[in-house]
Symmetry: D2
Subunit: 346 residues, 4 copies
């Protein structure tokens, strides 16, 4: 079996793992105050061209989203997101467990627009019952989105301008940030993205690390007392250096971006395999997640040798599924898939 | 000015107020353990034909919904509701503040169906990521709904059967219960409604009391330790007898139902005023809330002498608004409205 | 039976009730935006000599404490209180239910000192593990305390100076504020108290109202968006005018203070009854709550005709109990108690 | 510098790390459903002689305590603990952030007794205001405690009998479980401990793993739906196998116990170094944490070459400090400390 189900099937990129092994018996202080975390912070600040940013390391995405959002919102506020946003769908109610409503805006491609945000805020503030309705307190987006799509620089600029106009902090979930920034057609750089939001995170778990997400807070108003909240939410690792070491490795010699680009290229080959064979796509994704639509009958055959993620039913006989490439995907794995799809159509 | 904005514009029905005045200087124990609360409980149990039910008195609707829902759900569960449900729209995030997601199902008339509930539960339990998605833990409906509509006995029976099949407690928000049960075409009695759910409340604030809602818990599994939670949620009144006295008065000589019926009849006159003048309705409501659609220009004229609640924009020149009748509405008030609408159309 | 168990045994002062009766059939807007609430706010601001203060009306004490504290604290912060504070002991975990730790400081008389607050903050901020320990975020005291005792002007000034020095908002629970301000030996006026804290509330439930507490926010930084939180916490009354009317009556012609002083004077007679008969006191209370220590045997006899609140066991044969006077206590009731105590000692 | 500050200064035991390295490029499903997690579960169940137990893997201690406690308690309940309990002191209010009060019982050695629990429950249930006071909902203890002390089999049996009598689930925090079970004088085995509570966890982070805690639920009533709550609380690792692999390694050939015993033996040498030099101890700890009391002046000298954790001020010139041994502590490190202490006393 070859699995394309997700981008967290393997362990860590060898260069990352090697750092953990090499430093294993060193003694360092805990909770993210060690020299490796400091070094990683410096490299991330440099990569973001954000010398004043605060950088915090957490273990996983749900934990990170929850901690960031709970740190920003006041109790009467909720967070605006696309209806397909990870926090709305696949975090088991983590945001609500901190007391806040997830306010879902309609979306077909996983993105929301500046207009949607403006309309919502205007509707809310002009409603006679404004005090009876959850206040919008921040905006959450993903880059890339759940469907693998990307905001353009123009779209993100427009969204952030709207957020600024309404004093709504903008938070970008970058669980797959690398795969987005290195995608064909992406017109945003990391420093640009860092300037077009108030806080974001750089995903490690899905892009080469064993685990780990790096929160980057660029808005000074959001910096205060993140660490006690991180501790309270169970997101402060005792051996914090494990996170620092990994991000230090990932942000050395552009490793993070090189392995992300590799994954995107593997994904383009996967996409081409399906498109050239005549299969439609659920989303037009330029990143490492691809969503072909296949007949259930062919999916069953393919499933004997290949893993994929079931996404959604399209009609009585067709389903949309997800094939992920990652930093670990090999050309040989993709070749095998290509052959299997060719065999399907014989 | 004559106001039809809501059903809580005046104080209490005179018979209710008289009870408060007459007993004012008596000394009783607090927190709902006094003889008046006991008497009211007995009368409510009798009216519901539910001799084993637990009855608790709270001050207002948001408090009641929050306390009941928080008492039923486990932390990983959410509550299913129509997208227009009061808990989803107009309680300032009270449910989420207790840690639970409000899971909104689409609805145009304020009601949800047994099929929708079954589909949601089946979709959830068959999803590969079931543990990443909020579990449905109970179902919340309103009777009448926000649009004034009613479940038929067949609809409620079907919904409750589905809830039982999936072990989902059903909670009925009866903020306007009286106006529903006495409506033309309602084929449910209070004892029947009490048998077709696990817990519900009988609204007093909008139906003759100064304030107060009576929670009726018929499912023994939900009875335990409601009172400490009521205290924790700020819903246990020190002078609890104020609630007991009011419900005792309301459930003496059918007062609750008599005044509710009066309101419905006033509402039917209001409805007829608009329908006969050719105005369409936003919802087909048989209860005390009526929702005519008028040109904004005419609304402005009407608004000089009459209060109504703005509901929703229909198109560039028309809006849907709400006119409420209540136990306090007089025929003279309705006559004045009739004349004003006639004048509009001259 | 004559009951001295608490100060919320009866309904409302007749002048308060009369206001409710007289205005019963008037139509007003809801949620505290009516003219009666505005009038009451104006009178309270005047009585506090705090023309810029925000004034909000809630129904009960637990609700009020919870809403105020949740509105002030950030998620990583807790509230400092005396170990005997109402929020620590008798609110069923309401504060914790909003996510915040109640940090209890030792106290024998119900009061805490400036030194205790300073020591706690200094200890916290100098601890190596500061980020692992709940941050002190505000200070809660009661005036009078649970034991009926009062802060002097010097004590409160010192405490508030310390709070200011450490940027900790000071919140005063005034459930029995009237009984404190009119007590013999109290050297604080309402305007002075209003200047020596950031937010406090004026208790109505225990001082002449049917129910109701008036929150006074003097610190501008704490004013923002209290109302949506009030709604969320179930503390925004639909017929908000009921609260405005009552406080308007209480703050007309000094009614609030006149009835409070009456209660204190009744309490001094109760105190004298026990002291002159040789019974010791649990607390040296100058307010409406008195705490004599009696042999259990005598308490049983007294309990046949008089209600009191059991407070604490003192030794194998003696208990401390509470006798409350209130605005409703009559000289005749106290005379009867005096005779009964004399009979005990025959 | 040689650091004895804590037991999480280094990475992982080499045998654990080797497992991660060896399996790095394997593809497995996520979220703890992989074969390595299953294998580790089987070994843990065997080691506990608890074939029916549920075993879940989480990343860190705060996360684990929070998830377990939130899964057990109902909203009106709190958790009983020693005042020095980790959840009360050093988790940044994590338990309160889930809505529950931490009910602290006095303790000088970190332990609580069956009598204390019984007294608390009896006091609560007999109080007239029982519904106004947080209900005890479970009991939390640590083994070893924060002071390194251990419950004897008799003490734990008595405590658990009391818990059973009052229907209070007993949860044992085993962050340092290995160091306790292998300590001189410990009369409990892992299977016995597993039978004397309802749920406990086996700490990995401090005993040889890079990170990870294994929750063992033996009480069937507590098993249901732990996983969605684990996800919601941010405690479900995407690459869950990392946890399975580590615990599989630790529970192969008794590695967990062998390395724990090594640490205890190093700790006994540390203890002897101080005791034989005449220094008193803050706690009489038989485990890997030792707490000598030294003059501040000597601590400053020692601190030039050795790391320790400051614990508490004893008097104006003396402090209690903590020296931790761990699986990674070498005899050479301890020898160096011995020499340094000898030098102090020259």
């Amino acid at each position: 079996m070859i699995y394309f189900n997700s981008d967290y099937l393997e362990g860590a990129h060898p260069a990352v793992l090697e750092r953990l092994v090499r430093t294993n018996m060193e003694q360092t202080v805990g909770y993210g105050c060690d020299p490796y975390c400091e070094a990683a912070r410096a490299k991330i600040r440099a990569a973001c061209a954000a010398p004043e940013a605060d950088v915090h390391f957490l273990v996983g995405g749900t934990q990170t989203n929850t901690t960031v959002i709970a740190s920003v919102l006041r109790p009467y506020q909720g967070v605006l997101t696309a209806v397909s946003g990870h926090i709305n769908c696949h975090e088991a109610g983590a945001i609500e467990s901190t007391g806040h409503k997830v306010i879902a805006l309609p979306s077909t491609d996983g993105k929301i627009t500046a207009r949607q945000v403006a309309d919502y805020v205007e509707w809310h503030r002009n409603d006679e019952s404004v005090e009876h309705i959850v206040y919008p307190g921040m905006v959450y987006i993903s880059f890339p989105t759940e469907g693998g799509t990307l905001y353009t620089k123009a779209e993100l600029t427009s969204l952030y301008d709207t957020c600024l106009a309404y004093s709504l902090p903008l938070f970008i979930d970058g669980a797959r940030l690398g795969y987005g920034l290195t995608a064909d057609g992406c017109d945003l750089t990391l420093p640009e993205l860092a300037q077009l939001c108030d806080v974001f995170y750089i995903g490690g778990t899905k892009v080469g690390a064993l685990f780990g997400e790096a929160v980057v807070i660029t808005n000074p108003a959001l910096k205060q007392n993140f660490r006690p909240l991180q501790k309270q939410r169970g997101g402060m690792m005792a051996k914090g250096r494990l996170l620092g070491l990994q991000f230090d490795a990932l942000f050395t010699d552009d490793l993070y971006f090189r392995i992300a680009r590799h994954a995107d290229e593997m994904a383009y080959r996967i996409r081409e395999i399906f498109v050239s064979a005549g299969y439609p796509l659920l989303f037009d994704s330029p990143t490492n997640q691809q969503y072909p639509i296949l007949p259930d009958r062919e999916l069953a055959i393919l499933g004997e040798n290949f893993g994929y993620e079931y996404w959604t039913r399209v009609d009585a006989e067709h389903s949309g599924v997800r094939f992920c490439a990652s930093w670990a995907t090999t050309p040989e794995q993709v070749d095998a898939l290509a052959q299997a799809v060719r065999d399907l159509r014989k």
